[in-house]
């Protein structure tokens, strides 16, 4: 995997630079702040499309690799994408302009800060997807939190502070333990470089005793599971979503939740195969509980945005389930589901946001019969709901069905239980749609609401097209993933069979960093158990 230019660096940091540009503007010059932010994000999307051109879907290695020493020898600036991260990067770059566009008018105070935060998040999220050095990964991982924290806290709704704090403490709790695990891993492997660590494991030089491995897996998984969020770690999500501004929700649901599932797929499985297989059963059970539970709770929500938030719990359950089926089809489905959920749920939040812009409430009671005043918006809303309830041939169906098919190969019961999610999703989405759109207009104010503006039509049309495209042209995506997915699976199973010595030897890197000058007492202390 030779270095192939600096494309990834550009993609990762372009938003950051545009932040600089935005900062240069006067903070009351809202129009230009918006324009520049939008232009930047569109440019970003265009650039990121270059990835598709150069990407070789037959190559299992990481591509567009960049690798430079950063801190000492052990910490590197190491970037690269494979079939798994490729589309997640694209998803990010695709959703950001939409998020910017949808907050075009709904954000009034401190516009500058808002778009700065948005662009910062983009950089951080892309960074997470492309970094191959655990340290670098963690840095980006944590950096996603703060801008989102500000976004929720500053431009959120009534209970925004509670939500923001809950969001950040919840997620930090997970990630800090992951940091410990990462550092511990370094202590054993002597490097933070993900591929190198894997190589060490493959060659049997680096082996963990089962218990340790389980603990490590736990530390990593907890961080990711909170992000996903996996039942029962999901309670930050409804609050965060409900309180966040529309753009925030779109990014949060669209991309940020995927950080979790991506992390599981990229790190938890290959690094701790044994543990992953041992924990597969309970985790799958949790995922299934999440699918059903999320759906049921969503059904009875009285707050539209909260409802959509809970659907995420349900849909992400599918993804986790797919991942832990350890089956190519299922995992491809899982990745695809990440994309389609990103688009569909993002779109749902867009719709909800547009309603909010008009009526400043999420209470379903406050709506009803909206199809009469705003047919276009509601038609889009229905279309999006349909994609979210996995109606073929839309995107939602493809993802879910691939997961189910794949999972069913290995675990009949899991898949069967999970399929019930499809029924439930129909229930909550259609019921919600009915309560919002159908029937007579119940609230006087709603009679005069304007239908979707041109800007909104553009946004909605874009996502609608994306939904349809994902649904019909799924092979364009799945084919590019397959090699990488098999690669991951091979890592996950391959190092299981690797013969292993009893005790884990400390890798050379460590010997280098703990020199012989260490005091004698310490020297003998280290061998002492």
């Amino acid at each position: 995997m030779g270095t192939q230019g600096y494309l990834l660096t550009v993609i990762t940091f372009l938003p950051l630079f545009s932040v600089g540009a935005v900062l240069l503007l006067r903070s009351d010059d809202q129009i230009w702040i918006r324009r520049i932010a939008l232009a930047a994000s569109l440019a970003e999307f265009a650039v990121s499309l270059l990835l598709l051109r150069g990407f070789d879907s037959a190559n299992p290695e990481y591509q567009f690799v960049e690798r430079h020493a950063w801190i000492g020898e052990s910490i590197q600036y190491h970037l690269g994408v494979d079939g798994i991260s490729l589309f997640l990067v694209l998803l990010t770059t695709f959703l950001t302009p939409i998020a910017i566009l949808c907050s075009w008018e709904s954000i009034h105070e401190n516009v500058k800060g808002f778009f700065v935060a948005l662009l910062l998040i983009e950089t951080a999220m892309i960074g997470v997807f492309v970094s191959l050095d655990l340290f670098l990964f963690f840095v980006f991982w944590e950096l996603t939190l703060i801008p989102m924290y500000f976004m929720i806290g500053m431009w959120g709704h009534d209970r925004r502070i509670y939500a923001a704090v809950k969001f950040i403490l919840y997620t930090m709790f997970g990630s800090i333990l992951m940091l410990v695990a990462i550092v511990w891993l370094y202590g054993k492997a002597g490097t933070f470089d993900f591929p190198d660590i894997l190589a060490l494991m493959q060659s049997g030089q680096l082996v963990f005793p089962p218990t340790t491995e389980l603990l490590m897996f736990g530390a990593f998984f907890l961080a990711f599971a909170i992000k996903v969020p996996l039942f029962p770690l999901h309670t930050w999500l409804p609050d965060a979503h409900t309180e966040a501004p529309t753009a925030g929700s779109v990014i949060l649901a669209g991309v940020m939740l995927k950080l979790g599932t991506y992390g599981i797929l990229r790190f938890c499985l290959p690094l701790f195969p044994e543990a992953a297989h041992r924990m597969a059963q309970p985790i799958a059970v949790l995922a299934i509980i999440g699918i059903v539970y999320g759906a049921l709770v969503a059904t009875v929500q009285t707050d539209l945005k909260r409802l959509v938030a809970y659907t995420s719990v349900s849909h992400l359950g599918f993804v986790v389930l797919g991942i832990f089926a350890f089956n190519t089809v299922a995992i491809q489905g899982a990745i695809f589901q990440m994309l389609s959920h990103g688009v569909s749920t993002g779109a749902l939040f867009l719709g909800v946001g547009m309603l909010y812009d008009r009526r400043h409430t999420f209470e379903i009671k406050q709506y009803g019969g909206l199809a009469t005043p705003m047919p276009v918006l509601m038609s889009f809303f229905l279309f999006i709901s349909l994609s979210s309830l996995a109606l073929p041939p839309l995107n939602g169906f493809v993802g879910e069905f691939l997961i189910l098919i794949g999972t069913f190969q290995t675990h009949h019961a899991w898949a069967s239980w999970a399929s019930s999610g499809a029924v439930l999703s129909a229930i909550y989405l259609l019921w919600a749609y009915q309560r919002v759109a159908l029937g007579e207009v119940t609230v006087e104010k709603n009679k005069t609401l304007p239908d979707a503006s041109t800007r909104e039509r553009i946004i909605l049309a874009t996502v609608a097209v994306a939904i349809l495209f994902l649904g019909i042209a799924s092979p364009l995506f799945t084919r590019r993933m397959e090699v990488s997915v098999n690669n991951v699976l091979e890592q996950t199973s391959g190092s299981r069979n690797a013969s292993r010595p009893v005790v884990a030897p400390t890798a050379p890197g460590v010997a280098a960093t703990i020199p012989h000058r260490a005091l004698p007492a310490v020297a003998e202390l280290q061998v002492r158990p």
Binding site: L169, V183, G187, T513, I514, R517, A518, V522, L525
Partner: protein, 491 residues
């Protein structure tokens, strides 16, 4: 004794410069009109900066000075830089503060410089009594500085508490030294090590009296580096002291004392590592917990930051407990990062506190972001760094600390790191609370923000730059820290 070891002032260049300027400031004082005392501040600043520069000189002639009472090794030099940058920032922070409190006096600067000199001695001391003298120099100077706002009762009170408890603890330290001297017949760091190792080889274990001495020394030093249960005085003193002094207090003595602590524990008492390891672990846990929990419910930012500095001492002890060269390096790096973010934070408090430090409650900062976005941003940066968010020095510091601790595969240390990690979350809560107030809450109507004076601005720029530099490009400093740590263990 060969004269080679005698009088090598150049190896003490920083201290010399500091004392010199201290006296100059005093000497010039009478010729400066009451209105222009501020210029003395700039003079002192020049002194501090020159001292910083002179570290470079001293660095050129590493080796023992004054018949080996002082070591000008890279370890001491590293810490000199850290201490002196803290001093520089503190002085920048003081200039306008003293005007505003109208206590603009030459003594202040002189004392700061002398205190710095004391800390320098402490950092370089290679002999216990010398260390004691250094310690006292810095302590007595700071006792006075703490009480510098004479009209303010809290300032007096802080000064008294600090003085009483400080000298109380020092007495323990001294008695500890006496014990060590009693056992080994010497007070030179390496000689003690040799003697104790011999004792171990002959007697089979470290002499009891030495251990007792170590315990008493730990009391004295623990008091200065502010670890539980000797942290007890810190919140009161930090709160009562004039804010720039608090900045100095929270950084300088801590750094210097850690220096001598490392020398004593790692070198002199290396034989006893198996014993002090546990003491340090316990101490670390207590310190982190008490520091963070105490800060959790504070309404006064200054006091909150005081607690947070306790907590940070705890994190540093985690690295300290690693008892490897890597651990020392981690401690050094952490101290460097810590100084920038902490002093930065306190300088901001200094500015925001306004006349008579009346705006110290968290509520007072509500909506600050909309009135003074840059200040708020800086403050947030420091807070996030204290909280340990990536791309800041605080994070990298914690990271290296964890790395050092986990580098030694030992269950206790893993546990220690996990506890530290969980404490970070507790910490997050109160650091973020301040950010919430600044950004998420409506601004106070009655609050009229004072424009940021140049000096404060400079201090902030230095602090912020340092924090970010250590956060994003830590390699260079990390390498220095490692060589510094290495210089402790020749052979």
């Amino acid at each position: 004794m060969p004269d080679g070891q005698f009088m090598n002032l150049h190896r003490l260049a920083p201290e010399v410069v500091l004392c010199l300027f201290g006296m100059i400031v005093m000497a010039v004082d009478p010729f400066v009109g009451a209105a222009r005392k501020r210029t003395l501040g700039w003079l002192a600043l020049v002194g501090a900066v020159l001292a910083l520069a002179s570290v470079h000189v001293a660095n050129h002639f590493p080796g023992p000075a004054y018949s080996d009472l002082i070591h000008a090794d890279s370890f001491s030099m590293f810490l000199h830089v850290v201490i002196l940058s803290a001093v520089v920032m503190a002085i920048f922070g003081s200039l306008d503060y003293l005007d505003q409190e109208n206590i603009q006096r030459s003594e202040y600067y002189a004392l700061v410089l002398f205190a710095a000199a004391g800390m320098g001695i402490l950092a370089g001391a290679n002999e216990l009594v010398t260390a004691f003298v250094g310690l006292e120099i810095s302590s007595i100077a700071t006792y006075v500085l703490v009480g510098f706002r004479r009209r303010s009762p809290v300032s007096n009170e802080a000064s008294l508490k600090y003085f009483l408890l400080g000298s109380f603890a020092t007495a323990f330290f001294l008695y500890g030294i006496a014990m060590v001297y009693g056992v080994t017949g010497t007070t030179r760091i390496e000689d003690v090590q040799v003697a104790l190792n011999e004792a171990v080889t002959s007697g089979g274990h470290v002499p009891a009296l030495a251990i007792l001495g170590l315990g008493l020394i730990l009391v004295g030093l623990g008091f200065k580096v502010v670890v539980s249960p000797f942290q007890i005085y810190a919140p009161d003193v930090y709160e009562g002291a004039p804010t720039p002094v608090t900045a100095l207090l929270a950084s300088g003595p801590k750094v210097a004392t850690f220096a001598i602590m490392i020398r004593i524990f790692y070198v002199s008492f290396s034989a006893a590592q198996g014993y002090w390891f546990w003491a340090v672990c316990v101490c670390a846990v207590l310190t982190m917990l008490i520091g963070n929990l105490g800060a959790l419910m504070q309404t006064n930012v200054k006091r909150m930051l005081a607690y947070s500095s306790i907590a940070h001492a705890g994190y540093i002890l985690v690295a300290f407990a690693a008892s490897t060269a890597l651990g020392v390096a981690a401690v050094l790096f952490y101290l460097a990062a810590y100084v920038f973010m902490k002093v930065g934070a306190f300088v901001i408090i200094t500015h925001l506190g306004q006349q008579d430090e009346k705006r110290l409650l968290i509520q007072d900062y509500s909506g600050l972001a909309s009135k003074q976005p840059v200040v708020a941003a800086c403050f947030s940066l420091f807070l996030l760094s204290l909280l340990g968010l990536p791309a800041t020095g605080g994070f990298v510091g914690k990271f290296f600390a964890f790395q050092a601790a986990l580098g030694v595969s030992r269950r206790a240390l893993v546990l220690l790191v996990v506890i530290a990690a969980i404490n970070t979350i507790i910490g997050a809560y109160y650091y973020l609370r301040v950010i919430i107030t600044m950004y998420f809450q409506a601004p106070h109507r009655d609050y009229a923000p004072t424009p940021v004076p140049a000096a404060v601005a400079i201090a902030l720029v230095i602090a912020a730059a340092g924090t970010l530099y250590l956060g994003i490009l830590p390699s260079r400093v990390w390498d220095l820290a490692q060589t510094a740590a290495g210089s402790l263990f020749p052979h």
